[in-house]
Symmetry: C2
Subunit: 230 residues, 2 copies
Amino acid sequence: MTKYIKQTRILVAVDCIIFGFDGYDLKLLLIKRGFDPEKDKWSLMGGFVQSDENPEDAASRVLKQLTGLKNVYMEQMLVFGEPERDPIERTVSITYFALVDIKKYEKQLSDDYRAEWFSLKRVPKLIFDHDQMVDHAKQKLRYKAALHPILFELLPEKFTIPQIMTLYEQVYDVELDKRNFTRKLRSTELLIKQIDKDKENSKKGAFYYKLDKTTYKEKFTKFLNFVSNP
Amino acid sequence: MTKYIKQTRILVAVDCIIFGFDGYDLKLLLIKRGFDPEKDKWSLMGGFVQSDENPEDAASRVLKQLTGLKNVYMEQMLVFGEPERDPIERTVSITYFALVDIKKYEKQLSDDYRAEWFSLKRVPKLIFDHDQMVDHAKQKLRYKAALHPILFELLPEKFTIPQIMTLYEQVYDVELDKRNFTRKLRSTELLIKQIDKDKENSKKGAFYYKLDKTTYKEKFTKFLNFVSNP
DNA sequence: AAATTAAATGTTATTTTGACACGAACAACC
DNA sequence: GGTTGTTCGTGTCAAAATAACATTTAATTT
C-alpha cells in the first residue's frame, strides 16, 4: 500500500491567540496584514504547517517569528475546519493559545505585516473566523486560570501581589477582595517573597515575589481554585 | 488571488475515542481492522474528512457508522500531527472524545471491521499513536468529570445512585464514601427521583433517578466539584 | 511634623468537605 | 411466619475552605 486514494488533501494552518498583560490591561497581539488574502485587515498571526513540521512546531515558529520569543507557554486549542472558512482555498486551522511576558516581547520588523497589542476590551473586527477563535481563547483563559496558575506566565519574573490581583480582576472582570485573594495565593505556596519592593505604583512600595519553580511544576495540574465560579 | 502556492496539502482524519459503561466497567470501543494499513490490528475508529465536510461532521459520521447513534456527546480533543505518524502518507488526525449509552449502542455490521468493547483495564496495543490518544482521552475524561456532570452521558435515561457511584469509582479508580457522594449529588439538584426501583442488583432495590434536563444544561459549564483532586 | 496614599494583615460567620455507623427494605431460607 | 443476609439510604460532628469585613503600616509629599 502506497497512498490513500481518492481522499482530499487539505491545507493545514496554525493560528495563534497571543495574550499579554501590561500591568493594567489584558492584551491581544494582532497583525495588520500586508499580504493577501484580506490585505490591510487585522487578523491573528498564523502560518501553514510545513511538510516536515508538526503543528506544535509550526505554532512555535510562527510565534517566534512574530515575538522573537521561544519557550513560550502554549497550548493547543480548537481546530476550525468549516469547508468555506477561507474563501481562497479550503484550510483547516489549528488554534494555539499563547501567554507571553509582554516585557520580553520584541517587535520583529517585517514587510509582510505590522503587529500591535490591543486591549481585549477593544479588539477590532478580524478576518474569517478569527473573532470566534479569540472568543474561544478568552473562555479558555478564564477556565484554566480559575483552576491553574497559568496567569503567572503573563507576568515578569518579579511581580507584586497587587499586580497579580489586577491581572485576575482584568481576566474575570470582577473586583476581588485583597485579603481573601492574598490568603489564597499564600496557601498555594507558589510564591517566594523578595527583599526588594516595587516603588512604581505607591509610596509605600509593594514587595516583589518570584515563582517557586519547583512548586509551580508540581502543582500546575492540580486544582488550585483561584476563582470559584468564573 | 486564487490559491496558496507552494504549500503542502495534507490528509485530515478524525479518530474517535468512544467510552461506554456497562454497569461494572468503563469501556472503550475499538475496531479490528479488515483493511490496510495495519490490517488485522486493533485501532480507534476513524475516517478522512471529506471535501464538503467539517471535522465535527466527519466525527459524527464515523461515530454513526460504527454505533448507529446520532446526537452523541462529543468533544474535540487534541490534534495529532507528527509528520511520520502514519507511514503510508502524512495525515493529521483530529481526535474526538465520545460518551455513549452502551445500551443504545447497536452493532453495525460491516465487512471492513469488527467492533468490540474493551474494558479500559485491558486495552490491546493499538496502531500508530492511538495508544497516546486513548491515554489522553482518559486524562480528559477524569479532568472534565471531576468538574462537570459529563458521566451521566454514559448512563441510561433511568439510573440509580449506586450505579453512578460505581461509575465514578471506575473512572478514578478509588473507593468513594456513599454518604458524602450522595450528599454531593443531591446538592447539585441535577437528579429527579423516580417512584420505581431497580431490583437487579439488590433485594431492597435502589430508586431510579432521571436527569433534570433543565438544571443539567444550566449547570453543565459550572464547576460542580464532584471529585476534589483527580 | 502632618497629610496622603497604597500595602499588608487578622477575625468571625458560613459553607463545604471528610470521616464515620446504623436502621430500613426486601428476598431467600428455614 | 419468623429469621437471616444483603444492599440501600440517611445523619452527625470535626476540620477545612470561603466570604465578608476594618485597621495599621510604610513611605513619600507638603
